[in-house]
């Protein structure tokens, strides 16, 4: 459904000093530098997949998403979505896709969503009877009722987002591009939106691409994750595999009967914390059983706990370290 090969996007940014002198200098001689937003990204997405783009702010995930929609022209590389070249923005292509952006809306502010829906029905050439049916189906799924007849400005953020989703899905697109769809929503609304997206994907087999910096969105919805960092595609696969790759270690927490010295724990893994009787060690996965056996053998252990470091921390640590 989606094929991306060597996709890159480079922006030429003007470098201008502030103030009047800077403006004049800039006018006489422009200085620019190239900013690489996306570099050599390649991946393939099959129909019906739910894929998440994960990355820090400014990593390049929205740029990549917009290149898939055709809103941004790539500097290099090839993109094919549903057999079309998105750049050309052909009507047939546009009918097959939809874009939803968190905190930005296509619905008219002063009118009820119903009015915007009627416009969309006309634009996409959906007969009124068909549109009515789809609206009522989607409204049921999204738990929207009289909200559709209230002006958009009078709806809460959560209701607005649901109405946005309805408007975006009216023409039954095959590919859904969602850019931070749960941004700014409260916990309940986020959960509802996620539930709806999962259901929708199951029912219709639509391909869903989701960008988010909320881990909860990704873990709840996306069996497959593309991690984008500083414009590069760092990881493409299941989220658990990402955890393995990022953190080939597991965390072992010990509560001892009596305190020990740090050197006593040497060779048993990375010591993260030692506070009296409480010990935290990071142990490589493959050595885990051996190390645990040794710990139990050598030390008076009152309690032992083995966990994964939380994913947010792993990815956050990755970004902090600047590792690619």
């Amino acid at each position: 459904m989606i094929q991306v090969e060597g996709l890159s996007k480079i922006y030429r940014v003007a470098e201008k000093q502030p103030g009047l002198a800077g403006t004049l200098r800039h006018f006489i001689r422009r200085r620019t530098r190239d900013v690489s937003a996306v570099q050599d990204v390649s991946f393939r997405i099959e129909p019906g997949e739910m894929v998440g783009f994960l990355g820090a702010n400014g990593a390049g995930k929205t740029t990549t998403l917009k290149m898939l929609c055709g809103l941004i022209h790539p500097s290099a590389g090839e993109v094919q979505v549903a057999g079309f070249s998105p750049q050309r923005r052909q009507a047939e292509f546009l009918r097959r896709i939809t874009l939803v952006m968190g905190q930005k809306q296509q619905l008219l502010w002063d009118l009820p969503p119903m009015d915007s829906l009627r416009v969309n029905a006309a634009v996409y050439g959906i007969p009124d009877a068909v549109a009515r049916r789809r609206i009522s189906e989607l409204a049921d799924l999204l738990e929207l009722g009289e909200e559709l007849t209230r002006p958009v400005r009078k709806l809460s953020l959560g209701q607005r987002m649901k109405a946005e989703l309805l408007a975006a899905l009216l023409h039954e697109p095959e590919v859904l591009f969602l850019d931070e769809p749960t941004l700014g929503l409260d916990v309940n609304a986020q959960a509802r939106v996620r539930q709806f997206l999962a259901d929708y994907n199951r029912r219709t087999g639509a391909t869903v691409l989701l960008t988010s910096h909320y881990m909860a969105d990704i873990t709840a919805l996306c069996p497959r994750v593309l991690l984008i960092h500083q414009g590069h595609l760092f990881h493409d696969g299941p989220l658990e595999a990402l955890a393995d790759q990022l953190a080939p270690e597991r965390e072992v927490r010990l509560e001892l009967e009596s305190p020990v010295e740090a050197d006593a724990l040497a060779g048993l893994g990375r010591l993260e914390q030692l506070e009296g009787c409480d010990v935290r060690l990071l142990v490589p996965r493959d050595q885990l059983t051996a190390v645990v056996a040794q710990l139990l053998d050598r030390f008076p252990v009152r309690d032992l706990d083995v966990t994964d470091p939380p994913i947010e921390e792993l990815i956050g640590g990755l970004f902090r370290q600047g590792r690619v």
Binding site: C69, L71, L99, K104
Partner: protein, 262 residues
């Protein structure tokens, strides 16, 4: 009981207020248009002492030009300002993307999305003034002159739209110069007066560069039976030219938007 009564009064009070607000708007618009027109006619009358003309145009003839100007100003208020004024908002808020992803021409969407009915009375008054002036000037309507006038009005409308759109489309580059269309509007006020009221240098400007002449003077000339065919053809040519330029510029602007924005 008292509480319910008070609540009910609130309900109805706000409902009436909302209704009034909407109606008040229309009333205020109507009043403003009527006042503005009276003022303009008063101003025009200052040019007409006994036996005086403005650029060779009689009072009744100048009224026709004012009427035509008012029609075009009304069209700007009804369609151009609400639609083209929103382009910069789309660019600023990132909602232009939604427009571009609809399977419908983006220029069409942006130009005709909405309308402001408050401008309709102005169009009506302008047509009325045109009719009155024509009658006073002794215009005899023939089918061919009516047809030609309509064609020239269409051409004028296209020129006005294209000019306004060209300027509004620059907001894709410069969000900070969104009020450039106000400069256009100020310059368009020159269309209130017949072309010959201006010195020769400005006459050229108002015919070729900022073709206000084709909006107001030429259609009036058509009705008065004074329009020469070459001028009409020039007007049509300019309309086509400006419209094509607006279209080409929009496609160029989109190319820039899709390659340089993030």
């Amino acid at each position: 009981m008292g509480r319910y009564w008070r609540t009910l009064r609130r309900f109805w009070g706000t409902a009436v207020a909302v209704q009034l607000e909407y109606q008040a708007n229309v009333l205020i618009e109507l009043l403003a248009v009527a006042m503005s027109l009276s003022g303009s006619l008063f101003l025009l009358s200052l040019f007409y002492g006994p036996d005086q003309t403005l650029g060779g145009w009689s009072w009744a003839q100048a009224l026709m030009v004012q009427g035509l100007y008012t029609v075009f100003d009304g069209m700007a208020t009804t369609w151009l300002r609400p639609n083209l004024g929103a382009i910069v908002t789309h660019v600023r808020e990132g909602t232009l993307d939604f427009v571009l992803l609809k399977p419908i021409d983006s220029q069409f969407w942006l130009s005709l999305r909405t309308l402001s009915p408050a401008g309709l009375p102005e169009i009506g008054l302008g047509l009325g003034l045109l009719a009155w002036g024509s009658h006073q000037a002794g215009v005899v309507l023939s089918l061919s002159s009516l047809f030609t006038v309509l064609v020239m009005l269409l051409a004028g409308g296209l020129i006005l739209y294209s000019l306004w759109f060209l300027i509004a489309a620059t907001s894709i580059w410069f969000v900070k110069t969104w009020n450039a269309t106000e400069v256009l509007r100020a310059l368009l006020a020159s269309g209130r007066y017949p072309l010959n009221a201006y010195p020769p240098a400005l006459r050229l400007l108002f015919t070729l560069v900022l073709p206000v002449a084709f909006l107001t003077t030429v259609p009036a000339q058509v009705l008065l039976g004074e329009a020469a065919v070459p001028v009409l053809l020039a007007g049509l040519a300019l309309a086509v030219l400006f419209f094509a330029a607006a279209r080409a510029f929009w496609l160029f602007a989109l190319r820039f938007y899709t390659s340089a924005s993030s």
